[in-house]
Symmetry: C2
Subunit: 141 residues, 2 copies
DNA sequence: GTCTCCATGTTGTATATGCAACATATAAGT
DNA sequence: ACTTATATGTTGCATATACAACATGGAGAC
């Protein structure tokens, strides 16, 4: 079984992706720490800024996040005053949230640059490819 | 800022990788659920089977996991009787753990196949590329 | 031998994450 | 109108994850 286990250890796509995710998340989180942000919440803020206020479930679909995960992330961010609920129950970024994410841009850029240099241009393309495939996984054949 | 935020939302490597990671982790976890396993612990078991008993920190290095994360995962797995500590304080898979991971192989294969069909051969190669780059990130230039 | 440094492991604290179960609400069909 | 189905949001529970702080233990330096 040792050799078979070795093959599985090397081939498991989830295992590999989780390793990559841990490393990359760490690079961004450590960089954003000085702003009091983590990459998950930064992503949500950027999303709200880019696409405007939306429902929690719409956010979940965009970010491929369970609705309960969205709900609790929004809770934390609401406590911080970064987002709030509109009349229509949409999640909306506040002025504080907007200023925070704008101020975090240099740190984001630095982390992005670090990861780019680790991945190389092929690696960056690889990420785009994977994201596309995942997002369109139900729209084929 | 809207357009800039849009660019950032689309380009952020951490955001993209975390999306992929969430989707892929979910596919494996749902498949392994019938065995009472999740992909993180399955990865640890496979690692122990492939490389033999090792220290927690060695496991952390292989899986790019913080030592505290390893420690608590091993705790849970010890309670389940899947691993134990040797005299030399190494983590070792038990017979129960071995049988469990062997029995989980069909579910793993199914999840792997599902993700392969989403990624396509280019996607699978992309994952390998990213893993290599991440693991060798300090060994260049 | 002693002291210092580094590797290792654990614990406190906090975020991130998902499933199941529940409550609501909205839409559609009859 | 009533019913049913679907979408949405929250909460209980459990795992996964990392940083900071701490304790320990071994390896050299002297």
């Amino acid at each position: 079984m040792d050799e078979i286990a070795l093959e599985i250890a090397k081939q498991c796509l989830a295992g590999q992706i989780k390793i990559v995710s841990r490393v990359v998340t760490g690079i961004y989180d450590r960089e954003l720490k000085s702003c009091g942000l983590k990459i998950t919440q930064a992503s949500i803020l950027v999303h709200l800024l880019a696409y405007g206020s939306r429902s929690g479930s719409a956010l979940g679909r965009s970010l491929q996040m369970d609705k309960s995960t969205v709900s609790r992330n929004i809770d934390r961010m609401t406590k911080n005053g970064w987002v709030h609920k509109t009349d229509a129950d949409n999640v909306e970024i506040t002025e504080v949230g907007r200023e925070l994410i704008v101020s975090a841009r240099p740190q984001w850029e630095k982390a992005q640059k670090t990861v780019c240099s680790i991945f190389g241009s092929e690696g960056v393309e690889a990420v785009t490819l994977l994201t596309d495939r995942v997002k369109n996984r139900n729209k084929r054949k």
